[in-house]
């Protein structure tokens, strides 16, 4: 397929969800009404996300896999000359997987919601927000202009806020506000950094900036820019100690919100680090990389310890909260990989990104399902004294949960393994001019973190899936995995296995792109 066609495909991928969001608010045309207004609009959501998924698959198919380092399907239009902002779209090996992952996860979420709409507001606004969220996320991964990146980055905030505040549970409005204030504060500071780069370098074009490798920026400018941008992205990633919004947001968010938050939104932070900070300000990140790595490792350990604490009996740990904290740990690996500043580490980070999106998305789906069935996601209430005995009461659900947990702890052969291993591998032999001993310590600590991860995940599996015979027999059997749930979850599980068994498919895409991005190091 030639590039012009791809161009349109990419543009359509970004624009279609936005149009869909507007369309969702309009009254449905006659003939598409379905059984009611809710169903019509939910169907609309599935259709649009499905179309976007198809388009992204087409894009992936049309992508020139021989040259993943070059920007493909790029469109460059002058949008706001006053601010030197261009409508510049394009994808390379780094963004393509994330794009497809986003399209996939959103589609699955739409599908899941079609059968199981969370209680809260109207279906109309739910679908509109979901599509807006998708549009923003897809735009984040496909724009090549710093300001557009920021715009897209911001676009996801509002829909996510409303998803949490309207369809969430518990202390939802507070959590939602916390989420948006944290991320917005981060992103506004990021904006300052981006502007600094743009003003000093005279362009906001990410391709040009990446090619320049920061040669037009003085070292102090780079330092300030990295600090500002890094702060914004680190909030989103989230990096310890800026993660504190995440557990609350996840706990309060509806299932679909959690899936997208963990599976897609967190990736925007790490993607930004790789896409902007690494190539544009190599001098700055060189200075800050050890600190980033240190924070990442603290995050790994902290996340795991928090999960361990939550998993223990009597602590009243919430399963969603637990997975949220585990995300902090997993994203710690991603950050560690990025901080290693060598291709191995960065590739690992990108791989871990995708893997985390798949696995944690699956995990949140499962926990949401459990919460629906038990009416609670409180571990103590679920497991009681002897365990929830999910194996006995809903064997397929239990099996899937165990599978996801094991994938998450990084069992070789599943997706979780490669990313974290490569990240640690990268940190073991960090980029030039980085302190090796420090990084060795980080690697050791990260390795210890994987052990802790295994610890809490296995505890969870034990407490939720296993249980006394009495428990399983005394309590009525639960509804097992339903068809629509199966449809929504299978692709994730399958891809987890696929990525675990054939990592080269992904690494082959990212490797050349990463090498070209790291040209300045």
């Amino acid at each position: 397929m030639n590039d012009t066609a791809l161009q349109y495909v990419l543009a359509a991928i970004v624009v279609l969800p936005l149009l869909g969001a507007v369309g969702a608010l309009l009254p449905p045309p006659p003939g598409l009404r379905g059984r009611g207004p809710d169903q019509a609009v939910l169907r609309h959501g599935v259709t649009v996300t499905g179309a976007v998924l198809v388009l992204s698959v087409v894009l992936a198919a049309g992508f020139d896999h021989d040259h993943p380092a070059t920007m493909q399907a790029s469109t460059d239009l002058n949008w706001i000359p006053a601010l030197r902002i261009h409508l510049h779209l394009g994808i390379d090996g780094i963004s393509l997987p994330l794009l497809v992952l986003t399209a996939l996860l959103t589609f699955l979420c739409a599908l899941y919601s079609y059968f199981h709409l969370p209680a809260g507001g109207s279906a109309k606004s739910f679908v509109a927000l979901l599509l807006l969220l998708e549009g923003g996320t897809l735009a984040t991964f496909s724009v090549l202009d710093l300001m557009l990146f920021f715009l897209a980055f911001e676009t996801v905030l509002i829909p996510m806020y409303f998803l949490i505040a309207r369809w969430g549970g518990g202390d939802r409005e507070r959590s939602a506000l916390r989420f948006i204030v944290y991320t917005l504060l981060g992103s506004v500071i990021m904006l300052l950094g981006l502007l600094l780069i743009g003003v000093k370098a005279g362009t906001f074009d990410m391709v040009t900036l990446a090619t320049d490798n920061g040669s037009h920026l003085s070292h102090s400018t780079q330092l300030i820019a990295v600090l500002a941008i890094g702060l914004g992205l680190a909030v989103k990633a989230p990096m310890w100690p800026l993660h504190s919004w995440l557990p609350d947001a996840h706990t309060a968010a509806p299932t679909v919100g959690s899936v997208l938050l963990a599976g897609v939104l967190l990736k925007m932070g790490t993607y930004g680090l790789v896409r902007i900070v690494l190539p544009d300000t190599p001098g700055g990140i060189q200075t800050f990389a050890p600190y980033l790595a240190a924070f990442a490792v603290v995050g790994i350990i902290y996340g795991s310890l928090a999960c361990l604490a939550l998993a223990r009996r009597g602590n009243g740990g919430d399963l969603k909260r637990l997975i949220a904290y585990s995300s902090v740990g997993h994203m710690g690996f991603v950050l560690l990989g990025i901080a290693s500043l060598n291709p191995t580490g960065v590739n690992g980070a990108l791989f871990a990104n995708i893997a985390h999106g798949l696995i944690t998305g699956l995990l949140f789906f499962l926990v949401g399902a459990i919460k629906d069935r038990y009416g609670s996601s409180d571990l103590d209430q679920l497991a009681g004294r002897g365990g929830a005995a999910l194996y006995g009461r809903a064997p397929r659900l239990g099996g899937l949960l165990a599978f996801a947990a094991v994938a998450s702890l990084g069992l070789p052969g599943l997706a979780g393994f490669w990313g974290e291993m490569l990240a640690m591998f990268g940190a073991f032999k960090p980029g030039a001019d980085l302190s090796r001993p420090a990084y060795l310590t980080f690697t050791a600590l990260a390795a210890f973190g994987t052990l802790l991860t295994a610890g809490y995940l296995l505890t969870v599996v034990r407490r939720v899936c296993m249980g006394d015979r009495e428990t399983s027999e005394l309590q009525p059997a639960l509804a097992d995995v339903k068809a629509y749930e199966f449809a929504a979850w299978t692709p994730l599980a399958a891809l987890t296995v696929l990525a675990g068994l054939w990592p080269a498919a992904l690494l082959g895409l990212t490797e050349p792109a990463v090498r070209s991005l790291l040209g300045g190091h």
Binding site: L25, W79, I80, P81, A82, L83, I85, G121, S125, L132, G136, M147, F150, L151, E154, T155, L157, I158, Y161, F162, A165, R166, E173, L177, I180, V181, L184, L185, V188, I189, L191, L192, L195, L196, G198, V199, I224
Partner: protein, 508 residues
């Protein structure tokens, strides 16, 4: 002997003359119109203001000047350059929208006087950006504000209106006096009132007059700071807005602000340019203070306070004034100050459209919920989806969040001006403020979409159906105002270049 009468370029003056002449016409017409025909005056006013805004089209090359003094080597007192034209479009358009807002107001306001005062004030506001000497500037400023005092106090049966007017009045009058004292000092130091000549004169001030000149500059700016409600002189704004009729509050927050800012721009960037190293940082500090005070004040608003919506918008307008000051602070240290102030103008344009839109929706809601508390907005989406969506859009524009793209990029322009002028600290403070502002804007937005509280009395729903439907019907003026602002906002969000291009070129 050659004619001593200055040739006057009437074409250049049309944007000022049309509203002024219309003001007199409306006043006289009001005397002879029967009571039933009075609404006509409102439409005439709105149309006239819109037409006045359109009269800048023939001037768009921006080279016209008039009231010149060639024989004394002085410049011209009136210049219709691009800066002038843009601000004129802003104030006249804003006034036209205000007129639309007021046509269907339910408050007891004497019609003829209202339109007359609105038009007079608009004429002053249109003159202000064109003034190129301090005398014209002061006169224009007063023509803008004097009718505004009366507008604020025009609801004669309301005790709060008088109080609001008095606060506004005393502050403003004191500010004028202080400004004038400053101007008299500047005049003493430079021997002229022409802005460009003042700039020239300030560079050659004799040594013994340095202190005088500096005091003059400082006093003039303090006076303007008072007028613009720049912190720490902001105290009157929330009270005045809350006490004034709603359209008047809208007018003050948009047209009054824009006019004041154009005056401040002219004074600082043109007249006091040699002292840029003094006023630049000073304005920076004021900007930081203003936006913080305004946003924190807005944040502290409780949702159940009567007229809370207007109060919130009032505090937020103080915050927004802080943002407007940022590019001017940057202009203080820029090589070409005229370049930076374009950003202020662009931001003001965005703010005008969006804020008037917000006020229009507030006016709409006030018809059914006269207390105008923030809690009255709960569930607006259920009862008036279009109005709720519009208000949400306006608020997000004000907050600078997508889909309010224009609000976002206007802020980006302001940020980049601050970053470009090495005012990083200011940019950071502004960043924090943007986040604070987000909280209250978003709270309000969220309120629109939360489920409405169930009315306790369901029985009378059937009987009151007819009356209720009548009350909910959107009056034409308000509907038009909301529609115009919403369409403008969306169009600008799609093509921000339409106004951001002013941030690019030198307007002055």
């Amino acid at each position: 002997m050659a004619s001593l009468v200055q040739p006057v370029d009437w074409t250049a003056l049309t944007p000022v003359i049309v509203p002024a002449a219309l003001a007199v016409a409306v006043l006289v017409a009001d005397l002879f119109l029967p009571q039933g025909r009075k609404p006509l005056l409102g439409w005439v006013t709105a149309a006239g203001l819109a037409a006045a805004a359109l009269t800048v089209i023939p001037l768009r090359d921006g080279h016209r000047t008039t009231f010149c003094q060639p024989e004394t080597g002085g410049g011209c007192s009136y210049a219709a350059d691009h800066f002038t034209l843009v601000v004129q479009v802003l104030v006249l358009g804003g006034a036209a929208l205000t007129a639309l807002l007021s046509i269907n107001t339910r408050e007891k306001i004497p019609a003829g006087e209202y339109w007359f005062l609105l038009l007079s004030s608009a004429a002053g506001a249109a003159l202000l950006p064109a003034s190129r000497d301090l005398a014209t500037l002061i006169v224009a400023l007063e023509v803008t504000t004097l009718p505004a005092f009366a507008l604020v106090g025009l609801r004669r049966d309301d005790r709060l209106a008088g109080e609001a007017a008095l606060k506004f009045f005393l502050t403003s009058v004191t500010a004028t006096a202080v400004s004038l004292l400053g101007i008299s000092f500047v005049y003493a130091a430079t021997g002229t009132l022409q802005l460009t000549a003042v700039a020239e004169g300030l560079t050659h001030t004799p040594d013994q007059l340095h202190t005088l000149a500096r005091a003059g500059v400082a006093l003039t700016l303090v006076g303007f700071a008072f007028k613009l409600a720049v912190a720490p002189f902001q105290f009157w704004v929330p009270d005045t807005y809350a006490g004034a009729p709603l359209p008047v509050a809208a007018y003050l927050s948009v047209v009054g602000k824009a006019a004041g800012f154009s005056g401040l721009i002219l004074v600082t960037v043109v007249a006091f340019r040699p002292y840029a190293h003094v006023w630049g940082p000073a304005i920076g500090v004021l900007a930081a203070l203003t936006m913080t005070v305004g946003n924190v004040g807005a944040l502290r608003q409780r949702p159940d306070v009567p007229r809370g919506a207007v109060r919130l918008l009032a505090w937020s307008s103080i915050g927004q004034a802080g943002y407007l000051l940022v590019p001017m602070a940057a202009a203080g240290s820029a090589d070409d100050p005229a370049h930076e102030i374009g950003t202020t103008v662009a931001y003001a344009l965005m703010y005008a459209v969006v804020n008037l839109g917000a006020f229009a929706v507030v006016a709409l809601v006030e018809r059914t919920a006269p207390h105008s508390r923030l809690t009255d907005y709960r569930g607006l989406y259920a009862s008036r989806p279009a109005a709720a969506l519009a208000l949400a859009f306006f608020l997000l524009c004000l907050a600078g969040l997508p889909p309010g793209v224009i609000g976002l990029f206007a802020k980006v322009a302001v940020f980049s001006s601050a970053v470009g002028a090495q005012h990083g600290w200011l940019a950071v403070i502004m960043a924090v403020n943007v986040v604070i502002a987000l909280v209250y804007y978003l709270r309000w937005t969220a309120l629109l979409f939360t489920a409405a509280p169930e009315p306790a009395v369901a029985a009378d729903a059937d009987t009151g159906a007819g009356a209720g439907a009548a009350a909910v019907r959107t009056p034409a003026g308000l509907g038009l105002a909301v529609a115009v602002t919403a369409v403008a906002g969306v169009a600008l969000s799609g093509a921000p270049q339409l106004i951001l291009r002013y941030a690019q070129g030198a307007l002055l």
